[in-house]
Symmetry: D2
Subunit: 376 residues, 4 copies
């Protein structure tokens, strides 16, 4: 290796997400093409950095990677450098191994680390940064709830998969006069459910940000039936909850214990709706289908831009920052500002307004303005 050449490390952390490989490819291509920098990939997120498991990634290794889902580096969504499991005898002890991570980076002669990941990875990166790790972040989440960036790669692909699933389920709903419930991921934010509900033609969309009133849901189903449409599509984010929370769930448990045992908000909702509407309900939980597969064209371009920009940031010395997209422009914000925050759907978001103008039920009574409903 030439003496002057730089080397950087990269890792992918958190849950799987379409576009991770595209980011890796863009990093390697930009590093080679613009800067003649060598790229070392740590395996399985921060785990690999701590345990010194890595491989050099060359141009030929990223050939054909753009269209492939997943990450060739592997990932882990539980590796916390400050509380890291180490086998001692037959049991695990949890140790602060943050310094080990930094030493490994140094001993490999790496000038910086690009950490590609979601909320958890950014939280770890923010703390590692304080410890002295020269890290640059690339945001990743299919849930689109990362603070600081308008959108992240992976979301459009997950949205596309969810929409195709709703398309498939539509014909069955219509043929059978059923209520079909489709549950997307999204524990804290409703972006996926709201987006897929709009794109898939959902009649009712329930998201974590708007606790739902079961009566509003039933009203929508009945109002459709009265118009001769004897089926309904309900799109539910996994974090959706009924208004009144625990008490409502308790009542459902008492009246239909079997359905509730199945767990998940969708199964509870199905039990309630069957009882209240006398219509058959069927539940489909999309789950991990949303994390895999080839990224959409949109996500491939975005992931490529993020990967490229991360290398430019390292080259410009913008350590401690995370790449973001603001409007259609790339920018960056401090990692510590991003960590631990979530971007949620606001009551006046354009998508919410669109849903309401189209007559989609969002789970609140239509005669109460959304803002007022949410205040109560």
């Amino acid at each position: 290796m030439r003496k002057s050449a730089k080397r950087i490390g990269i890792l992918t952390g958190g849950g799987d997400c379409p576009g991770l490989n595209a980011v890796i490819r863009a990093i390697v291509k930009t590093a080679e093409n613009d800067y003649d920098i060598e790229v070392v990939g740590f395996l399985d997120g921060y785990e690999g950095l701590i345990e010194n498991r890595f491989r050099t990634i060359r141009l030929e290794d990223v050939s054909g990677l753009l269209a492939r889902g997943g990450t060739i580096l592997g990932t882990s969504n539980r590796a916390d450098p400050f509380n890291f499991p180490v086998l001692q005898g037959e049991d695990y002890v949890y140790l602060d191994r943050s310094l080990q991570a930094i030493r490994n980076l140094e001993s490999l002669g790496l000038d910086a680390l690009i950490a590609i990941g979601g909320d958890g990875t950014m939280a770890a990166s923010a703390r590692m940064l304080e410890k002295g790790l020269p890290v640059v972040g690339v945001p990743k989440t299919i849930d689109n709830d990362l603070w600081g960036t308008d959108i992240t790669f992976g979301f459009d692909s997950a949205l596309s998969t969810a929409t195709e699933a709703i398309d498939k389920i539509h014909t069955t709903a219509q043929s059978h006069h059923r209520i079909m419930i489709v549950e997307t991921m999204g524990r804290y934010a409703g972006w996926l459910a709201l987006g897929a509900g709009l794109a898939g033609g959902g009649d009712i969309i329930l998201i974590p940000e708007i606790p739902y009133d079961i009566d509003s849901v039933v009203d929508q189903v009945r109002s459709r039936n009265s118009l001769g449409k004897n089926f309904s599509i309900v799109v539910v984010g996994e974090g959706a909850r009924p208004q009144g929370g625990d008490m409502v769930v308790k009542r459902v448990v008492e009246t239909s214990p079997d359905a509730v045992r199945l767990g998940g908000i969708s199964n509870q909702l199905a039990a309630q709706l069957e009882g209240l509407t006398n219509l058959e309900c069927r539940v489909t939980i999309l789950g991990h289908l949303l994390r895999g597969g080839t990224p959409t064209a949109f996500d491939r371009i975005l992931a490529t831009r993020f990967g490229m920009e991360a290398v430019h940031m390292v080259a410009r010395g913008e350590i401690g920052q995370i790449v973001v997209l603001q409007g259609s422009d790339l920018g960056s914000v401090p990692i510590r500002d991003v960590a631990g925050k979530q971007r949620k759907v606001t009551p006046d978001h354009p998508w919410i307004k669109t849903a309401r103008s189209l007559g989609i039920c969002l789970g609140n009574p239509t005669n109460v303005p959304l803002e007022e409903y949410l205040r109560n």
Copy 2:
């Protein structure tokens, strides 16, 4: 209407299935083009015939129908003419309304009925035939378990959807070093799980016809790990069961009650595998995703051929028969021979042999020949 013109009725019964609309289209086109026959569609399967709910279907009504999933006639999978629910006061009474169905057909001047459906619809049709209903059958099932025909439309589409789902889940399995369990439909027969397992590159395939030995499953996972492949894809038909049946399930219930409460064979299997392999498991249940969506090219051609042939059979007076595919040729067999029977995966089926030659685990110990294992 011209005096001499013939009229036939059609209905679609049972669960939703890609290709139903393509059959309807082919019937209407063939009836018009070859015979100048008018087609009347009953709504919601036998329910519509009994309750005299119908619509005339003309050429212009079937435009654009070939590619659309579902059925424009609606369907019902619970309408039994011999035990049909009728509202009396506030309760339902169940009556034998088979004669009403026949009278409705006659009063509309229909020469025959083409019933498109699965096992349940064919069972009802066989009994209606004895009562005097001039019925011709078209077989339909995504499970491919209908007796008498090599294959039915809908199966290839469901297989395609299941395979795409496994493709998506593959990248996540690899990135996370997990066991991913994908459950397909198929309560009685393993065609879907076996086909999707072969096409999606499953490492373990569990089907109802081969009660599985959990140790064989664990061996396969471990053997893959020892080769450096620290993930496995398990494809499970919903009717799959462990060897020893109830006792095994009981043991799982005792050791991991939470997982079992989630119900479904896949969740039980996940609980067992996590315990035995120390690897994370994730379950995806494809369910109704397999019933919807646009049919594949293969299914569109098959559904079109079936629809056309059914009209020719009516024209030739082959009442009481069901269209079948034998090799690549259309044929017909008596409906009464088909009703109530199921086509299962046999131990020497070519797909089973293929799976074994490729080293896929089918849930039995590899040192015991499959035939012998199944005898025990």
Copy 3:
């Protein structure tokens, strides 16, 4: 009809585009849900308005429309109200029928017209507006070259189709060691070619905005070969042209007349590249494949938002404006400002920078900065 109710007209003009039906659906749903306005659809763009061919579109007519490509209203890309063909005897005369269009709108009691279309439709609308037609515009183009809006619906779908096509062609290029040329639409602007080239992993991207230097293209192919990659993917916008223009084309015509007779920039380029590199070239022209099919989730949401906003604009009296997207917010600009202008790829657009950082050849010598190259 109730006395107070409002009515609005809509039409779709210009080439086919994924999302047109989604706009129509959103207009009808918003009009009904928020304002109780009735919607009348003119057939085949301005042709229908002039010839008074129309149909009322009700809620039930837009069911299932979200996912369907094309437009249920039909379209025409040659209807100019000011120069409109009318049959006289056996020949056509071209007449100014703009006033007839306005009278038809008035006689149907329509308060406004929503015109959904591209450059041509907006040019006609701008002139009709001067004549007194109360028109609101919705921008539409798969080429993404409409001035005033960051993006229009249809582009993401076309990009997705083009990217899938490049994915398919990739494997063949690799297996056969060939140069594969893929031509996208885009007569004036390179958005589709540039986007699909980035998303599909093109090695060379040629767009109308950067006249290409054939030597740079050949250098890229050779440089790839020297790295052991004996295939190349060239993505070409249909409006791409060689530097020096006519003279270069003339030389190609003289040396390989057969290839040139096939027409199209891609076939000329293939003839040149085969001669200069001694590698086989194959051309695929995507053409109309890019205009059809179900819209992507992204386009469905965007088309829905545009349709909704157009109704709100009518309700707010913002006549003469066109809906636009700026960043992630809806806005509006005067139609007359948009008509006749095109949004082109600029030399410093982020996508251009991304392409260059990744080492993609854009058709100019890499040692000359793009800005300087374009000045010459």
Copy 4:
């Protein structure tokens, strides 16, 4: 390597085809799993065998290969061992290098060669067999015209791609009231055009086996228009030709030289149809799109079965045979019986009958029975 271990060679020849990689994977897995045989892959078809370019393919090399289009071994569709180009000075001489191929196989200690390819590869293999090469064949063609087998892998995938393309083009045809011509591959046999025409809802299907009468085509377009359907989809196999052949083409050349210069039967047809119907025509040539991409589930299973069976055939000593599918069973026939023959669409094929029952125009006058028409 253990002394007793066997080794076999494999190669892929001819045009690219979805499923080639799936065959390679199945061969390697079966060889390893059932026989402990090592597999050596020659690069670029017979070229690699002659030039001794090869690589060992192990289990880990075929991971993830099932879903990937193309062939990791590369292919060549011009390598004839009996007339093989060798550079001498600056020119090529063509030599009989068949013996060299056999010597290379022997010197690598290979017991047999599995040749995966189409007509050309099988013709070469038949001659090599006579020379003493122990070869087993696996049939491959997207055109489905290989003699001896009911179907080959690749066809279902190409059919699927062609059908999706027709789906996309359908909406544009409808929206614009145009005649849309879609040209599929298929120089000698009409399987792809006929299948895609049936599956995509084509109104007119023209295949090489039935020289078309332009008047019949025009009649169909007019008859559709008279029913209010002012668009038509024409699916054309690339080998389709007008009745009367040369004379008809000559007449077209004289009347619309520009269109004809564009070459291809579809462009000629478009020129004729525009003149005769006064409707706009648009042509889309699918070409290489049909050769690439991930194989369908159907093709993955078929390719896997073919690969597995080829290894079993080697193990059983069935040298000189080619794997075939007859009905749903695997079998084999002598390679020499297959070479040089083509399986064409016969006038009484079920698909032809289906097309005619549905009222699809096949290019002959409907009042003349097809058999009689073809006799003239």
